[in-house]
């Protein structure tokens, strides 16, 4: 297809304008302030007074935590969010297939990779867990993507993380394209998906 709507690569690749990347970096990280921040006490609803005192514990979005915690400046210290700690790592290593990754964080893998940048002592174990989890689950995702044609897949995709959902969809599209080719339908000119979706929505609004 020539049309310049290259959907998957831009979704999988992080860049400055990527919506998924912005939403990933919006996930919260538990932080503790090491030095007091004057005049910004209102950011913590439980704080008294106008300043954020040193020692305040707060959940900050990743982009903020990243800016305030680097080798040069340590305004906050960072802890790993719960789904990446020892307890959950054990669950994932026991059987990754049954875990609802979407509940643990819609961008579980991507966010896990971002967390490595803080250089925490357990960063290595987290990356091992991510890799293990992915390779265990990938088999199942591929299997189900290649074997259900025209069925309701929400039960399967509901437990997948955003990256896995993209993979699942790619697999499904491959399967449909293959069936199209098999039944000799691939030369048929079909209406563009955007137009079809648009029409469907209009019909719904009309009812």
């Amino acid at each position: 297809m020539f049309a310049p709507c290259v959907k998957y690569p831009t979704r999988l690749r992080e860049n400055y304008f990527s919506i998924d990347d912005i939403l990933t970096t919006q996930e919260k990280v538990p932080c503790k302030f090491q030095s007091s921040v004057l005049g910004l006490g209102f950011l913590d609803p439980g704080a008294e007074g106008t300043d954020l005192a040193a020692g305040t514990a707060m959940e900050l979005p990743y982009w903020l935590a990243r800016a305030l915690c680097s080798r040069k400046r340590r305004i906050v210290t960072v802890e790993m969010p719960k789904p990446y700690r020892e307890g959950y790592r054990q669950i994932l290593s026991a059987d990754a297939n049954v875990v609802d990754l979407h509940k643990l964080g819609p961008y579980y893998y991507a966010f896990g990779i971002y967390l490595q940048s803080f250089g925490q002592p357990d960063a290595g174990e987290i990356s091992n867990t991510l890799l293990q989890t992915f390779s265990t689950r990938f088999r199942r995702i591929m299997d189900s993507a290649q074997n259900c044609l025209n069925e309701d897949t929400t039960a399967v995709t509901g437990k997948l993380d955003e990256l896995e959902r993209v993979l699942f969809r790619v697999g499904q599209e491959g399967l449909t394209a293959f069936h199209c080719w098999q039944s000799g339908q691939s030369a048929k000119i079909v209406p563009s998906t955007m137009v079809t979706n648009y029409r469907k929505r209009k019909r719904q609004d009309g009812d």
Partner: protein, 196 residues
């Protein structure tokens, strides 16, 4: 927390399904810009105080600066992704957008869309040299197998004039045998159905 309003814009885009564009959120953008203005002024005041010798303001400046950059990123991404989607629509819907999609665009986006249309048309005309007559890139998205194809009308579309001047009435459920190049766009729009 800073940056929440900006992310809300991004979420709006994320939620909206393929083939639609949410209304241009001018109010949301204005609020984010206002937040950024306040952040910038506070930072400037704090930097001036630090230059005059006040201690301990630096962490606050850092925090606000990060929020400023984040807001900037969200705003730019909002504009950019809308533009990308608009560009995809040019290829899917053709050069004329449905009125309710057009209604959701901002003034600048409408201008951008018509300029994109013009550049695309100029480019397609320029292919094949000065006498080549150009090439319609939006045509033959799949390799053509025959010159004529059989189509069925899915809705009443009114009269349709082919290139050789014949006038056809495209009535619902009527079938026609047409040149592929002339009806491909109508199939893509969902007016006709290609029968194999």
């Amino acid at each position: 927390m800073y940056g929440e309003k900006a992310v809300e814009l991004i979420r709006q885009l994320h939620r909206s399904p393929d083939g639609s564009l949410p209304p241009f959120n001018e109010d949301g953008i204005r609020q984010v810009l206002e937040e950024m203005r306040v952040l910038f002024e506070q930072n400037q005041a704090d930097v001036n105080k630090t230059v005059d010798g006040a201690p301990g303001l630096f962490p606050g400046v850092q925090l606000r600066h990060a929020a400023l950059e984040r807001n900037k990123r969200c705003l730019l991404a909002y504009m950019f992704n809308r533009m990308e989607r608009l560009r995809a629509m040019r290829w899917e819907f053709g050069s004329v957008l449905p009125p309710d999609i057009k209604y959701n665009l901002s003034e600048q986006e409408i201008q951008w869309f018509s300029r994109y249309n013009k550049s695309l048309a100029a480019y397609m005309r320029s292919i094949g040299g000065p006498s080549g007559g150009g090439l319609d890139l939006t045509q033959d998205l799949k390799p053509p197998k025959s010159l004529y194809i059989e189509v069925r009308c899915l809705m009443d579309h009114g009269e349709f004039e082919t290139e050789d001047g014949t006038i056809l009435l495209l009535k619902k459920d009527s079938q026609h045998f047409l040149q592929r190049s002339q009806c491909e766009h109508l199939i893509r729009q969902g007016v006709l159905e290609h029968i194999l």
